[in-house]
Amino acid sequence: MQEQVRPRVEERPPARAPGEAPERPGRGPTDWWGGWRWGFTSLLIIAGIAAALRIYQGIFTFPWGLDSSTWQFFWLWRMLVVVELVGVGIFTVLWWGWLLRSARDLPERFSHREEVRRIAVFWSLIGATSVNIYFEASFFPNQDGAFHQTLVRDTAFTVSHIPMFYLFFPLGITLAVGTYLYGRTRLPAVYGPWKGFPWSFFLLISATVTEMMQVAMNEWGHSINFANAGAEEFFSVWFHWPFVLYGWLAGGIFALWGETILRLTAIEDDIVKEEAEVPSPETAPV
């Protein structure tokens, strides 16, 4: 988080920057199928994955999810862990790679309209992160408490742990870091590299990373019965509390909204100033 003093980026681009494609009807920066498109498609994708996993659990848990020593458990559940981790890994490499590679081809100067569109996409990515956090911290934890009433826990890879810890937890890291990469490469005025690493992202990314690390402590606690705390399924057991404390770090997500709102109002102020200086409609910047 080094603070580097740099001169403010000159931001008086013409109406449409060179290389910017002409706008299609309904695909404007704040149209639902324009800048906001990823807002609901990402939500549907993540919810769809969660729904698919929940249906899978509904079919294959009883009885093959109850005894981790069986071959059925190996193929239906342990292999699912592999599929999830590999899947998230592939998505991470592809997406982050695309974000960084395509950034090189972006024009240096872009219009206010384009920047607004990018902020809308950025908010959509925050939304995806938010939805992911819901599945990792509410939907599947509810199942965890419920499912562990049906068997004696005999592995770290229980049916309820598998989507929660081994898909949505790592996906949270992917989404948080990916959102940062998007901000860094597409919103230089807010998250450009010369501004140093933002505290808002530091907190949000820390939340996702520490949650992943906490999985190890959780399994340790359940396996050793330290201070008689691992033998029973007491949901409020002390070694669950770090999940909560790390989760609070995700409060940094509000700062992302705050920072980009301030940038939006700054853009609007710039537009007003520019229109006051150049009142002619033909040359008014948009």
Partner: protein, 410 residues
């Protein structure tokens, strides 16, 4: 056309997979991952019987048996001194309901006080609740130790006309269906509160923009909103919020008062732990101990050397060895029942009164390995269980035995 073909192919694949794994014998509930020496040394089960394995919703089945907290109870569980137990059933969710529990002849609704060396004859009455094929085990949960699972079996619950209902009679004479009692109050009142919450949120968010207020609030001290002059919060807002807050307070006060009068005679949740009567042990007819236990991985046999002294008045026979939820029967004494296994006991035959006999017992390693009950390579390598000795009159003694495990190779 192509899409239909692809869907049919997918459906066929799913069906094939389901059939392939359908013929499963997955029957455990996680007990195999519990340390073997702990399962052997903590609780032994015997005579576990299910009165039926095919019932309808609403029909009962009774699960009976005996569980003993062995004298070999591990020191690292419950501080070596178990004293609170809960006899329960391990089944996948609330597919059955438990309607009665009797321990050593006394009804025990909740936990019981237990002790190391205690023998507990249990009888639990279950009623089928959800249609399906469910694996069911009796189990003993011991405070600060965990749940030790007994032998289980599959129970088929068939659908009954009219489904499942669960009438219970309150002390005031009213009969209610436990499946749905109070549900409409819970759902209805909760929804009412949700409506109030929505009203509050809509009131604030529908009538005015949100995010652009940040530019203004950044210029105001934290405890100021500028009043009607600025327009962030108006007199109308104060009035509307007072109405919603007032309605909320009235709803809670009135609801609480009505509920308190509608359900009189309330008592707090109960902690009704009983000390069951002492198990009436049969007359002592034999003492038994193990002097060695040798595991030979090349022959896959566990060989135990036992000393049995007949302290009774008639001849006795070694009839079985029981450990955790497994039973190994001496085939020269009786035939194994369903779910039991065989051992060999040499020499075969009876032991006369006053005589001490050394018997070599061989157990099939494949069974022990399948159940992960061979503690080779574990933190404690020992075997334990009960030796069942029976006399001519049918009197049985269950003698707790333990010996260090010596593998010929690891």
């Amino acid at each position: 056309m192509k899409r239909r073909f692809a869907l049919s192919l997918l459906g066929t694949l799913v069906a094939l997979v389901a059939v392939a794994i359908g013929s499963t014998t997955a029957s455990a509930h996680g007990e195999r991952a519990q340390e073997s020496f702990i399962r052997m040394e903590s609780v032994a089960f015997w005579d576990v019987k299910f009165s039926s394995t095919n019932i309808k919703q609403g029909e009962d089945l009774t699960l009976t048996g005996t569980a003993k907290l062995l004298e070999t109870w591990p020191n690292n569980l419950s501080g070596g001194n178990p004293n609170v137990c809960y006899f329960t059933v391990v089944e996948p969710g609330a597919q059955f309901v438990l309607k009665d529990r009797v321990i050593n002849g006394a009804q025990a609704p909740q936990s019981i006080f237990c002790h190391k060396g205690g023998t507990y004859e249990f009888s639990m009455t279950l009623t089928g609740r959800s249609p399906g094929n469910w694996h069911v085990h009796p189990a003993v949960a011991v405070e600060q130790a965990g749940t030790i699972i007994g032998p289980g079996t599959w129970v088929q619950v068939n659908e009954a006309a009219g489904g499942f209902s669960y009438p219970i009679k309150l002390l005031n004479g009213q009969t209610v269906d436990l499946e749905s009692y109070g549900q409409w109050l819970i759902v209805g009142f909760s929804l009412l509160t949700f409506v109030l919450g929505l009203a509050w949120m809509i009131m604030w968010t529908w009538t005015r923009p949100t995010i652009t207020r940040l530019a203004v609030t950044n210029q105001l001290p934290l405890n100021q909103d500028g009043g009607d002059a600025v327009g962030l919060i108006t007199r109308q807002d104060h009035r509307n919020t007072a109405i919603i807050a007032g309605a909320t307070a009235v709803l809670v006060i009135v609801g609480f008062t009505i509920s308190a009068f509608a359900f009189p005679g309330r008592i707090p949740q109960q902690t009704d732990w009983v000390t069951p009567p002492t198990f009436e042990a049969p007359a002592t007819i034999a003492d038994a101990s193990l002097s060695s236990a040798v595991w030979d991985p090349s022959t896959q046999v566990l060989t135990m050397t036992a000393q049995i002294k007949n302290t009774g008045k008639s001849q006795v026979t070694l009839t079985a060895f029981r450990t955790a939820y497994l039973t190994f029967v001496n085939p020269t004494a009786r035939s194994p029942e369903s779910g039991e296994y065989q051992m060999t006991a040499t020499p075969a035959g009876t032991i006369d009164p006053g005589q001490t006999q050394t018997i070599e017992i061989k157990l099939p390693g494949s069974v022990l390995q399948q159940e992960e009950l061979l503690p080779v390579g574990k933190a404690q390598m020992s075997v334990a269980g009960v030796l069942e000795v029976t006399d001519a009159l049918g009197t049985r003694n269950m003698n707790t035995v333990q010996a260090s495990l010596t593998p010929t190779a690891t």
